[in-house]
């Protein structure tokens, strides 16, 4: 029922639209639409996300910490910190900083240092349009 009414609407619109008598204009329009469709498909295909690990550390801290207090028996809380930047066209607004990501993770948990640290790098990017790149740090805050 719905489909029939939509088709009827479309037919009415086609009947009222000014006819394009120039076959070259029709061809141009078809070519333009096809190019636009291909471009949209390409952008969708190229909009890529990528993650990778760029290091594993046993201990890391942005605070002056006493290493003797970081025994494995001290209580730990899993913490995650991120430092992200924007990529406009191909230009980054600044550089991400994994020191900031560690500081954020420590701030969130009130820890002095992170142990069993994984440093990851993530990027989501539509080529030549926009993207976001981040350092993601996770570990046990003590």
């Amino acid at each position: 029922m719905h489909r029939n009414s939509r088709r009827a609407e479309r037919d009415r619109a086609a009947a009222t639209a000014p006819p394009i008598s120039d076959p070259q204009a029709v061809r141009r329009r078809t070519r333009w639409r096809s190019a636009l469709r291909r471009f949209a498909f390409g952008v969708t295909l190229l909009a890529a996300g990528c993650t990778g690990t760029t290091g594993h550390l046993a201990v890391a801290s942005t605070r002056a910490v006493d290493l003797q207090s970081l025994g494995s028996d001290s209580p730990a809380r899993h913490a995650v910190g991120r430092s992200c930047i924007d990529l406009i066209v191909v230009v980054p607004t600044r550089m991400p900083n994994f020191g900031d990501a560690i500081a954020e993770a420590l701030r969130a948990t009130g820890g002095e240092a992170l142990t069993n640290v994984r440093i990851g790098y993530e990027i989501v990017y539509v080529p030549f349009v926009y993207g976001v790149a981040c350092y993601v740090v996770e570990g046990d805050a003590r």
Partner: protein, 108 residues
């Protein structure tokens, strides 16, 4: 004339940058043994790198722990204090390297 143009292009395409990506008070790539924290002494200034080659696309990511290991190894250190980590990008047109460089005080 062509040689001059080629050298200008080569110079224009050869560049690089180095940016600080972390300033850490303490960093250790491996778990510290129980006694190290008590007995560690200053061993000197460490400097290490981890690099990956790229041509149009990158062949893997450089590793911070590898760079820290390379800074500690010559001094037989266990951990670093006041360490700075740099992301270094020497670029030669369509190829180059992406490196992490770690510098700081080595203890062990």
């Amino acid at each position: 004339m062509n040689a001059r143009r080629a050298s200008i292009l080569l110079l224009a395409g050869t560049f690089g940058c180095s940016v600080n990506v972390a300033s850490l008070q303490v960093v250790a790539p491996h778990a510290l043994s129980a006694g190290v924290a008590h007995t560690a002494v200053y061993r000197g200034w460490g400097d290490g790198e981890s690099c990956r080659f790229w041509i149009l696309a990158e062949f893997g990511l450089p590793q911070v722990d590898e760079a820290t290991d390379n800074a500690l190894r010559p001094l037989h250190g266990a951990f670093m204090r006041d360490a700075a980590v740099y992301s270094v990008h020497p670029v030669y047109g369509f190829f180059g390297w992406h490196c992490y460089r770690v510098v700081g005080e080595v203890f062990g």
